[in-house]
Amino acid sequence: MSVLSKLEETLACLKAGRVTLPYPANPDPVPAKFRGRPIFDAAKCIGCGGCANNCPAREILVFDVCQEVRILKYLGRRCTYCGRCAEVCPEKAITMSHEFENGTNTIGDLGQQLDLFMSTCQRCGRCFKPASVLEELKMKGYRSDDLKDERWIYHSKAYLDDAVADDIKIEME
């Protein structure tokens, strides 16, 4: 009987009570593993560029100003909060915080720039043991991503061979 099933449905609904959560007045805490905005700690960072290589959204730029100084810039616009940067960082300098209220009118608000003083060989950075062979096959050598226009330059010849380089016409300055 349709009326009975309607009554059953209504009773089921009423039993549940009121489930509206009082957010934002009284927000619930997020779980421990929650992947919010990544926070970069410049004190711990060794400038290896592993986070930049493993960012699927290409949101971390690396620029070598000179022999000793490397700029690491996290842009944060297309960040997917996947947490791979935190996972591969050998020094645990990146933490996935619990911040998720990241809306802003100024696009630069979410960026974090680290100016790092590197004191050893610039060619290979401070190599770290990659998680797998697949991680090893990434960009190596001098890096000069375009900080002004905020995009990656696939410049390192240590990674791309000639045929492919011509094929996709990288800009060489």
Partner: protein, 308 residues
């Protein structure tokens, strides 16, 4: 004569003011109860007031094919329902008693439906035309129910005057009021359709037709339509209360008046409960349903003509 005139004017003003002030409140109550059934907190009971104020404050963009007709339809829809409010007893005697009779009431009710049709035609978009075709089909099957009820009441009351008909007249047959009971059942089952709520809000089905006839309305004109939609709930409840639950309406002024609004509140809660627990019907299913009800109502009319 002077006293009667004063009473007419005051009564109309009171009715119109009460309806205008209270219609959004009842809508808010409807939304709140729906929300609680859905395990939600729901908007505050004053929300429809804020919604109407917001809409009235917006820029009046005229889109659609015939803006003049659109304006006319919007004004007419609210005007019609307010006029009906003056013809229905809301806790005291009908204010505009001498100015019209039951036939005028029927015409005005039909006119309020036609306003939606005008709105849809004026907009000229495919969705609005589809919406008004559904609205027309619903109207053709629904209005007869109302007419049958009022005529039955008129038959029993032996008069077409509003104060006689809108006073529990369907029950006025001899002995057990068979026709009254039949019509009570029919009107209860069709009430949801008169006030255009789920499962019978077919012409304005948001998910199917992008709001149907109202698709080209925004801002102040939409506010007028929404307002008239809210007011319809009240005037149909008032009609129902006057025809089928007239007890207590002759009581002294504030008590009878309060009793009337309590009855309306009860009907609003009933409408809410049905709306919250049903899915929308398709137009052909709805029309079949109304046709069935019409057959039963006609049986009631026949009984009434024999005095039962």
């Amino acid at each position: 004569m002077n006293r009667a005139m004063t009473w007419t004017i005051l009564g109309s003003l009171l009715n119109v003011a009460a309806v205008l002030l209270l219609a959004p409140l009842f809508q808010g109550v409807l939304r709140k109860i729906t929300a609680r059934i859905q395990s939600r907190q729901g908007p505050p009971v004053w929300q429809p007031y804020f919604d109407l104020l917001k809409l009235l404050g917006k820029e009046d963009i005229e889109s659609g094919e015939t803006p003049t007709m659109q304006r006319f339809a919007a004004y007419l829809s609210l005007a019609t329902v307010l006029a009906i409010a003056c013809l229905v007893p809301m806790g005291f005697a009908v204010p505009l008693n001498g100015m019209g009779d039951v036939v005028l009431l029927i015409y005005l009710l039909t006119l309020s439906g036609i306003c939606t049709l005008l709105a849809g035609i004026a907009a000229g978009s495919t969705y609005s035309l589809l919406g008004i075709s559904r609205e027309m089909m619903s109207m053709i099957s629904l209005e007869p129910l109302l007419v049958v009820t009022l005529v039955t009441g008129a038959l029993h009351a032996h008069s077409l005057r509003l104060e006689s008909v809108l006073n529990g007249s369907p029950y006025a047959g001899s002995g057990v009021p068979w026709s009254g009971l039949i019509l009570l059942a029919v009107m209860l089952l069709a009430f949801q359709a008169f006030v255009q709520r789920v499962p019978f809000d077919i012409s304005e089905a948001e998910t199917e037709l992008m709001e149907g006839p109202l698709v080209e309305y925004s801002g102040p004109k939409l506010a007028l339509f929404k307002y008239s939609h809210m007011v319809k709930l009240i005037i149909h409840s008032a009609l129902f209360a006057a025809l089928f639950t007239p007890w207590g309406s002759h009581l002294v002024f504030p008590i009878g008046w309060l009793l009337f609004w309590i009855k309306v509140f009860g009907l609003v809660v009933l409408v809410t409960l049905v709306a919250a627990t049903h899915a929308r019907y398709r137009i052909d299913q709805a029309i079949r349903y109304f046709a069935g009800l019409l057959v039963v109502a006609s049986a009631g009319l026949v009984l009434a003509s024999y005095g039962y």
